[in-house]
Symmetry: C2
Subunit: 357 residues, 2 copies
């Protein structure tokens, strides 16, 4: 943890993402200047230095940490990372593990980032499966956190309790909410709705007092509801994210095609462009920043593979908020509280059985 | 089936939906006039007659079929429909079963419509679980059919094969596609992606020659892909639909709020309104019409509970297309072909074992 006066260092995987190292180094410098933090650029030193020379970086504390292994496209990230100990994403994770950086930022595949974080940092005690926390833009201003955004397929119901605890800590730490409202993704709001998975998860969430479980949420609540956290299986999370993305793309393209019809509509489109840009900005992943790998015993932010410098700058903002809001410490605490709350339920169950004898 | 010169009759549940009987009867008359079909209005005769008197209906063949039982709000539809044999939705379904109407249209809960259809019409031979087919608006013009839109929770993988056959028949019958492209909803396009359910369903779909299985689809493909049919579990379908709906609502409201900021933006908004209305029209459920209950041994269209007269008119269009496109006959045929195709695979497997001995 960063003490009051200690400079925050962010380890940035300079080699990951479609536009690495150029956009990554550029965005990292922008973010370091904007948020007044130190940089730990991880990757091929010569390539990083070439990029650094392109940008004014006086006044920014920059370290370069060598990492020469490269993970090829098409390699399974988990297999590759077991073999290539010095891949930049693995080295960035170890900088966090060893306390040399307060958080890491990497662009690219979430699978690779999760594998690197698991192998080199490990899980928070009491968390079986770390998950991807995606902060979604909403109408109410404050984002709604989706957890799991796609790390775990075939989740078991009891993992929803762990995700609820992690999401609770995220919204407390990042947004200062005293008592985040946690929902379970389901097909209807009433208790008893949904599939077997949801029914079991509902019971477990309802029985746990470590966080505020407010009941079932629906797909639309990711964007227009008043839940702070919505927990779901990674499969369902991925479907929800990509369906919404498809709808937004279609909406935008339809509007554009109607505005491009003739001279008059083109003029209207030109006049409406600033307003449309504001909507786009609100929805855009560049603005939203990166997703946190929740349940990992360190602050790890994963940005889109196609990240521009601006996206990296925003991912740094997310990482720095995570550090300053002590999201890690909060996750550790609430996970233990949640385990104790569960144990309590199990214990009373056992007691009842003993009394029954 | 409607022979060449026989008049098509549509049984309309006049009592179902939030704005029944007023909007329903109004929309039914509009639809009957527009598409030149006969009406079989099912419900309370006096209430229907009151509505009929409000609208010019000369030249339209109208029958009134009495149905006096009412299903109360909050009653479980399945339980209520077992008891109340003369609920309007049940009587409408029996009109189809008895050949007195070629299709039925009902507004309200899909659960009630599915229960009424199952109890009074039954399933197509070879179909274990009928499903909801939702035709989604896309960028390519032609809709993409989602099946299952939410009828079945906890579907087993082999049901995806039945849904694929039903979806194939729908797109052939409704849109004249010779070889509809069927996808499986998953988290990525490559084979081997996803949860256990998807992996098993993929193998079964790939092994069946009764339809063209084109591989995995993703959430965004509902709106911007080039699949004709996407099969999924009802839970995942519901999540995808409602997430996309939430995104569309947010997009529209954000745009509106930016356009309402000041006098200038309001003027731009006024100028842009016709284009925005066209996008809304494209996405709106009033335009899209109703969902077909696929796998039921009759053409049943369920419209939104909040259906206006226009929504009912569009649901009638869907029902009439279903009748004229012989979707029912096509579903019966491809379901048998699909069963035979599966048997074929099992048979060669057994043969191999016998040869091996």
């Amino acid at each position: 943890l960063a003490s009051e006066n200690e400079r925050i260092y962010i380890a940035v995987d300079a080699m990951g993402g479609d536009f690495a190292p150029h956009e990554i180094v550029k965005g990292a410098i922008q973010g370091a200047r904007k948020y007044n933090v130190g940089l730990d650029l991880v990757g091929h030193p010569d390539k990083i230095r070439v990029e650094l020379e392109k940008h004014a970086n006086q006044g920014i504390e920059i370290r370069i940490t060598e990492a020469l292994d490269e993970v090829d496209m098409g390699e399974s990230p988990v297999v590759a990372l077991r073999r290539k100990k010095n891949a930049s994403i693995a080295v960035a994770a170890r900088q966090v593990k060893q306390g040399k950086a307060h958080a890491m930022v990497a662009a690219g595949s979430t699978g690779a980032a999760m594998a690197a974080a698991l192998l080199n940092i490990g899980r928070i005690k009491g968390i079986e499966r770390p998950a991807i926390g995606v902060a979604l833009p909403t109408l109410r201003g404050l984002p709604t956190l989706m957890i799991d955004g796609g790390a775990n397929m075939d989740s078991e119901p009891h993992l929803m309790v762990q995700f609820a605890a992690l999401g609770h800590a995220y919204m407390q730490g990042m947004h200062g909410l005293p008592r985040p409202k946690v929902g379970l993704l389901n097909v209807g709001s009433e208790k008893g709705k949904g599939n077997t998975f949801c029914k079991e998860a509902f019971e477990l969430l309802e029985a746990n007092s470590a966080f505020y479980f407010a009941g079932n949420a629906e797909g639309r609540d990711f964007f227009i509801g008043d839940f702070d956290v919505i927990v779901c299986d990674g499969f369902a999370g991925n479907i929800a994210l990509k369906s919404a993305e498809g709808m937004a793309t279609m909406f935008g393209k339809l509007l554009k095609s109607h505005l491009m019809k003739n001279g008059w509509t083109k003029l209207v489109g030109l006049l409406a462009k600033p307003m449309l840009d504001k909507v786009k900005h609100h929805l855009d992943h560049e603005y939203v920043g990166g997703a946190l790998l929740l349940g990992i015993d360190g602050i790890c932010v994963i940005a889109h593979g196609g990240s521009s410098a601006l996206a990296i700058e925003n991912a740094m903002r997310v990482a720095i908020s995570g550090v300053k809001g002590n999201v890690l410490g909060k996750m550790q605490v609430v996970t233990q509280e949640s385990l104790n709350a569960s144990t309590h339920v199990v214990a009373s169950g056992q007691e009842a059985v003993l009394t029954g004898e």
